[in-house]
């Protein structure tokens, strides 16, 4: 490898591990705040008493007791009741997507070395197992995109790209941890880079559903809003 090549790869590696991390987090947090304001600006506050059943919050009353709400029926008619398999897969995938980067030992060792910040960590065996779960869930999503008619009908190239981007940190992290390939530095660079790209993509691409789902479910009133939403479109 000649000097310029070595210099480039060393520079790239140091850049990805250093300034690029800061850039990724700044873009992530700044973009998130901007998108929260964008979404809230499209809604307005509405006093709860004005919101009537129908398009607003409606939980059916039990037939045998007019005062009690029929939570079983409400659950049966919700997305969880209609699509329990996808609800479970999607929930597991998304929870692990957020939890794993925070509690994985390798990341926390870096935090400890850099900032003296010591966070509780998962054991390596547990992290490994959970990473495989995430990869399996991503595989289920890919299967749906390729073979389920209704998903194929609205799938575009960007859906494959973003699924790849979401799964890439886990796949590369798994490969790097197990040192599957000889060139560890390349795999770990890809792992870091894919994580950074994913973070930067969150506010500006369809990954924004990470932010919108929470805001929508808790603030904008609808049939299945959680909590006492007091905003409407």
């Amino acid at each position: 490898m000649d000097f310029s090549n070595t210099f480039f790869w060393t520079f790239a590696y140091d850049f990805i591990r250093g300034p690029m991390v800061w850039i990724a987090f700044i873009v992530f947090f700044g973009g998130t705040i901007f998108q929260i304001f964008s979404l809230l600006s499209l809604t307005k506050e509405q006093t709860i008493s004005k919101l009537t059943p129908g398009p607003g919050r409606f939980i059916p009353k039990r037939a045998d007791n007019e005062n009690k709400k029929d939570w079983v029926m409400w659950l049966k008619l919700s997305i969880a009741g209609v699509n329990p398999f996808m609800t479970i897969v999607s929930s597991v995938f998304h929870v692990l997507l957020i939890i794993m980067p925070i509690f994985v030992l390798g990341h926390n060792i870096l935090l400890d070395n850099s900032f003296g910040l010591s966070i509780i960590s998962l054991s390596e065996g547990v992290s490994d197992f959970l990473t495989i779960i995430v990869i399996v869930c991503a595989g289920i999503f890919l299967y749906r995109r390729l073979f389920v008619d209704r998903v194929k009908a609205i799938t575009t190239w960007s859906d494959y790209l973003f699924l790849f981007l979401a799964a890439a940190p886990f796949v590369t992290g798994f490969l790097a941890y197990h040192q599957v390939f000889e060139n560890y530095r390349l795999i770990i660079s890809l792992h870091i880079l894919s994580g950074e790209l994913m973070l930067m993509a969150v506010p500006f691409t369809k990954f924004v559903h990470m932010i919108y789902l929470v805001i929508f479910r808790f603030t904008i009133v609808s049939e299945y809003s959680l909590g006492r939403g007091n905003r409407t479109w």
């Binding site: 209704r150 194929k152 009908a153 369809k206 559903h209 904008i220």
Partner: protein
């Protein structure tokens, strides 16, 4: 092949003006749609039509407002004709559709209807 697309019969300025009124919401909705299809079962037309994907709320939304947005309002009568079938024959605007992410699908369908109607494209029930 490389010539300008013909938008004869469509007042694209008027279409763009209508889209501009809801530009932010349209952009955010199109961006936020995760293409998950979890809205499908909320549409009784989808359930009643043998789960035909063309009746999915997300399909209707992406192929009406999505097309208007992608083409920046430069649509022709053929595009509007296809949209008419989607937003009138395949949707009754019952507003029952839900989206886990919070996309206001009925409003987007209503927006597409408004654009079509402004160009004289709407179902002619006495004729059809």
């Amino acid at each position: 092949m490389f010539g300008k697309k013909s938008t004869a019969g469509v007042n694209t300025k008027e279409v763009k003006a209508i889209l501009d009124e809801k530009k932010t919401k349209m952009k955010l909705s199109l961006k936020a749609c995760a293409h998950c299809t979890l809205c499908a079962e909320s549409c009784f037309l989808f359930m009643g039509r043998n789960k035909d994907p063309k009746y999915m709320p997300s399909y209707k939304f992406l192929n009406s407002v999505g097309v208007l947005y992608k083409k920046k309002g430069n649509v022709d009568l053929l595009d509007l004709g296809e949209m008419r079938d989607l937003v009138w024959e395949r949707c009754v605007l019952c507003t029952r559709c839900y989206c886990p992410v919070g996309v206001d699908i009925p409003e987007m369908i209503a927006l597409a209807r408004r654009v079509c109607r402004s160009q004289g494209v709407y179902p002619q029930y006495e004729r059809d």
